[in-house]
Symmetry: C2
Subunit: 219 residues, 2 copies
C-alpha cells in the first residue's frame, strides 16, 4: 500500500508520480493544498517536518521525503524498467542533469520562495513572474547546453528510454507551460519533452490532468 | 589524475572536497573565482555549461557536474568507506536529508541569486543578508526536525560514520558560520557538526582553510 502526499501543481510531486507510473506502481494520492497552507498543519508536520511535498509512505514504513531520494528508492526496490543507466559515469551524468532542475532551478520558484518575495520583499506580481521565468529558463537552458555536448540521436536525455533526467526535464517544462513561458530557446529540451509526452506514464502524470487542477477548455 | 574546479567559499565545492578526503583521494584544485565572474568565462563554459562550480575531471573523461552526482560517483567507484547506508530505506533517508540542504537550501543563497536580488530587485545588503539567514536557518531547522524523529544516540545523521547527509549538513553550517548566524535553534545539527569537525577530512576541507580564503586572526 502506497500513499503519495502531494499537490496537483507541485512539480516535485509530479516527478514521483511519473516514476511510479513508469514502474507500473499505483499509489493513493493525498492532496496537501499548498495554496491553503495545508503543508503547515500539524497532521502533515508529523509526516514531513520540512512542510513540503511530496512524501511517500509505503505500508507502515517511515515517510520517504525529497523527490529524487524517493525516486531512487523506487528505482532500487523496483528495478524494471531502470531509471538510471547501468554505468557509473553515465549515472553521474543523468543524476547531474536531474539535479540542475531539482536542485538549482525548481527550489527557487516554489510557493514558500514566492511568498517571501511577495510578503517580505514586496515584489509585485509582475516582478514575481519575471523571477519565476528567469530561473525556470536559466535551468532549462543549462540542461539544453549540456544536451548539445552529447549525441543528439537519442530520444531522451540519455539513450532511448526515460531516466530521472527526463522526469526532471518534463516536470520543469510543465512548470514553464503553466506560466506560458516562451520555450523556443530550448529546442532540444522541447524535442525530448515531446518524446516524453508520447509515454503514457508522463502524459497522465502532468499537473493539469490531476484532480483539483483547473478544467481546461477543449481547444 | 583528478582536477576539481571550485572556489574556496563555495559550499558545493566543499561537499565534494570532503567526500574526496573521506575516501583518501587527492585532486588538484583549480580555483574559479566566482566573485570575479570567472565561471562565465569561455574556458570554464566548455567544462561546465551551467557556469557553476564544482566540476570534477578524472583522467580524460567528461567533466562530472552537480555536487551530489559527483559524490555518488566517487562513492560508487571508491566504495570504502561508504558514504551511504547499505539498505534502500536508510539510503533514501540519508539522500533526503542531503537534498534538504543541497536542493532546498543552498541554491537559494548562491552568488547568482544574490546578484539577482541586488541588481534586479534592488534589495540592499541588509535585506540580502536577511534572505540568506532565512533560507539557511530554515534548511538547518528542517534537518533538525527530521533528526529529532530518529534516535539521537548516534554520532552522525545516520549511525556512527559520516554519510552524504553529514557532508551536506557540515557544508551548510560552514555557510552559517561565514555569515555569523545564530545557530542555537539547531542544537542537534550543531552536535553532529562538532562530531564532523573531529574528522580530519571535514576539518581540513572547510572554506576558511582553503587557498584564497581571508586569513583568520589567531584568536
Amino acid at each position: 500500500m502506497m500513499k503519495l502526499y502531494g499537490y496537483w501543481r507541485s512539480l516535485a510531486t509530479c516527478r514521483v508520480r511519473i516514476a511510479l507510473a513508469l514502474k507500473n506502481l499505483s499509489a493513493e494520492e493525498v492532496s496537501i493544498d499548498l495554496m491553503q497552507g495545508a503543508q503547515h498543519g500539524e497532521l502533515y508536520g508529523s509526516i514531513n517536518p520540512q512542510a513540503v511535498v511530496p512524501s511517500l509512505i509505503i505500508d507502515d514504513g517511515p515517510p520517504l521525503f525529497q523527490s529524487l531520494a524517493i525516486i531512487e528508492y523506487i528505482d532500487e526496490t523496483h528495478p524494471e524498467p531502470p531509471l538510471l543507466p547501468g554505468d557509473a559515469r553515465n549515472r553521474a551524468r543523468v543524476r547531474g542533469l536531474a539535479q540542475i532542475i531539482a536542485a538549482d532551478t525548481h527550489p527557487l520558484i516554489v510557493p514558500r520562495v514566492r511568498g517571501y518575495l511577495e510578503n517580505v520583499l514586496q515584489v509585485d506580481e509582475a516582478g514575481r513572474n519575471r523571477w519565476i521565468e528567469h530561473w525556470t529558463m536559466q535551468g532549462l537552458q543549462s540542461v539544453e547546453a549540456h544536451l548539445h555536448k552529447e549525441s543528439e540521436d537519442h530520444r531522451f536525455c540519455h539513450g532511448d528510454t526515460p531516466t530521472i533526467a527526463d522526469i526532471c526535464l518534463a516536470s520543469q517544462v510543465f512548470g514553464a507551460q503553466l506560466f506560458k513561458f516562451d520555450t523556443s530557446s530550448v529546442p532540444r529540451v522541447m524535442q525530448i519533452f515531446r518524446e516524453c509526452m508520447k509515454v503514457p506514464a508522463f502524459e497522465r502524470s502532468q499537473p493539469l490532468k490531476q484532480p483539483g487542477a483547473p478544467v481546461q477548455s477543449a481547444h
